[in-house]
């Protein structure tokens, strides 16, 4: 099926070339980091993890989120989703690879990375995180590729695949739980030391992940003949709405526990992020709250939620809000104030951002290639295609057949 990724329009190749240029620029920054060490970053002995690890954490959420499409399809036979499943799985593959790359660029001695496998240490959560990420990547590769190949050959999905599909659904929850355990089991880091962190991670993943997936799918629709089924979209948006509400509810629980108990250690990181940090960070943290409020308002109001013109903006606002919370504030608030009640400000350096750009561009490249393959197969089989009236072939909507022939085919 890989050959499908090689046949594309000029625009497709142009986009790939653009991503390769970004990867090239980022890799120069990475080579520089390899030569001189992590002093190219803004991290310090007090804030010993930074942008890389927080991106890793955010992207584990993206990897886990595909399950919000897969689970209804397989556990509830919600077949409206069936042509979306492959995109959830392919997105998970790209996200897993980005996660691993963010870990790889963060370690001080990348050539010794295999020590994690050569000296397996089950008491370390990092060991388990590696295990579940590799497992989840393999499961998605296996399930996604096999299903798509069967679809292309007009064959039913093989029976032996069933157990792997069910395992992969449960596995999705495990990857983000284990990632939360990475943080929530550390004494002396009060912002992380909370039993609800794993639940909050999952809630945040199940709103931000599908939101990112929907945004990418909307872009995909612009460049291919693929069209999401309208009901699949509206179901997913409802899932996003509930997950975001639960996410913010959990955040409110944190605030209550910290401030009503009046325990200094629990209040300090929150006060730091929302009041005492430098004005840039404080503004961003309040932006998170404001954007979270806006996105929830837009999602819970039916006429806004069902407005397909407004939807991309709603989702983008939600993604920014969750990213500011989990992809930025989480790590900084965990390290500040330090366990000895001092403040060491952290802000990523330009080189750090360039290396991160490289990893994101690699992820975008993987998504592009995999989505190109998936949309080409869907086009071959005629599933979930755009009809001239703007509906998807999966929708129960009557289009004029004469116009259908007039639609220019575009890859």
């Amino acid at each position: 099926m890989l050959e499908l990724a090689l046949k594309g329009s000029k625009r497709y190749y142009g986009w790939i070339a653009f991503l390769l240029v970004l990867i090239g620029i980022g890799s120069i920054a990475y080579v520089n980091q390899l030569m001189v060490g992590l002093e190219t970053t803004g991290m310090s002995r007090d804030v010993s993890w930074g942008f890389y690890i927080s991106q890793f954490t955010y992207l584990v959420g993206l990897a886990a989120s595909g399950v919000m499409i897969v689970l209804p399809n397989y556990f509830h036979s919600y077949k409206t989703n069936k042509h979306m499943v492959i995109f959830g799985e392919f997105m998970a593959i790209a996200a897993c690879i980005m996660c691993m790359l963010f870990i790889a660029v963060d370690v001080g001695q990348p050539t010794r990375m295999l020590n994690v496998m050569l000296h397996p240490t089950p008491n370390s959560i990092l060991f388990w995180d590696m295990t579940v990420l590799i497992g989840y990547l393999s499961l998605n590769l296996l399930v996604g590729w096999t299903c798509l190949q069967a679809d292309r050959a007009h064959l039913p999905h093989p029976k032996w695949l069933k157990p792997f599909i069910y395992i992969s659904i449960l596995w999705a929850f495990s990857i983000h739980t284990v990632t939360a355990f990475l943080y929530q089991g550390l004494p002396g880091r009060h912002y992380w030391l909370t039993a609800i962190l794993a639940a909050r991670f999952l809630a945040s993943a199940f709103c931000s992940g599908p939101a990112i997936l929907l945004l990418v799918m909307m872009i995909t629709e612009k460049f291919t003949s693929f069209k999401m089924a309208r009901n699949a979209v509206s179901t997913l948006v409802k899932i996003i709405m509930y997950a975001m509400c639960v996410n913010m509810f959990f955040f409110a629980l944190e605030i209550f526990t910290s401030f009503y108990s009046n325990i200094p250690g629990h209040m300090h990181p929150i006060l730091y992020l929302f009041a005492h940090a430098d004005s840039g960070l404080v503004t961003l943290m309040w932006t998170f709250l404001a954007f979270a409020a806006i996105s929830i308002t837009l999602l819970v109001t039916p006429q806004f939620r069902n407005n397909l013109k407004l939807l991309p903006y709603t989702l983008a606002i939600l993604v920014i809000a969750t990213w500011l919370d989990k992809g930025l504030g989480l790590v900084i608030g965990g390290f500040n104030p330090t366990p000895f009640e001092t403040i060491t400000p952290y802000w990523p350096t330009g080189k750090e951002l360039l290396v991160s750009m490289m990893v994101y561009a690699i992820g975008a490249l993987i998504v592009t290639v995999l989505f190109k393959i998936a949309t080409s197969v869907k086009k071959e089989t005629g599933d979930s295609q755009l009809l001239p009236c703007g509906c998807s072939s999966e929708d129960a909507c009557e289009c004029d057949s004469e116009e259908a022939e007039a639609v220019p085919a575009e890859a």
Binding site: G37, N115, S124, M130, L186, P187, F340
Partner: protein, 256 residues
Amino acid sequence: MKNNRRTFIKLAGIAAAGLAVAPKAMASSGGHSPVKVNPEAVHAKQWAMVIDTTKVHTEEAIAELSKVCHAIHNVPSIEGKREVKWLWSDEYGHTFPEQENPHLAEEVHHRTYMLLCNHCENPPCVRVCPTKATYKRPDGIVAMDYHRCIGCRYCMAGCPYGSRSFNWGEPRKNLDLSKLNPEFPTRMRGVVEKCNFCVERLAVGKMPACVEASKGAIVFGDLYDPDSEVRKVLREKFTIRRKPSAGTEPCVYYVI
């Protein structure tokens, strides 16, 4: 049973090959390993330290101890937020943040406190390390194998005492190469480092360098030996430890 002779020769061959590689195959904890402990070494079940803050409590005095420690262990001197330190000092509020009150005896409040790795009985850094690069030795010392450290810095997030430093850059750039201690290695960039309770000195029967240089202000010994000097001091004087609520059971005690 035609093959008996052949089988015998084969087995003999394998046994001979086994003998040839014997030193390699011997497990490090095996009974007949060709290694043993230096007879001069001092032993303990859990090494511990008591710092008498009535005797050593000025920035200058602790800086002296720090200089001794950093010189023999080739610790680079770096200013600012990326500093590397094995032994350092801080004020009361940063040392015992949970045990501060607004009307603390002024003299105690204004002392400067000596800080180093607590060699916890229940170390979070060892719990989180994904490669066993940091580990607890049978004598209770939390040690590091710099050869194995991948530089993931999980131990730094795990340590609630800030006892761990990462080599963000090349450490030798910040060392006076003409004044290195040739008996001890430096570190390389990209690994974490910390106080080792002078394990290399204990192995030859010496006390840790800071203990020796403190002129009696620091006592060192076995926490599990009721007759040890540490236990004697702990019996007689009031002591506190850093962050007891973290459940790490630090083995560095402070006489207040």
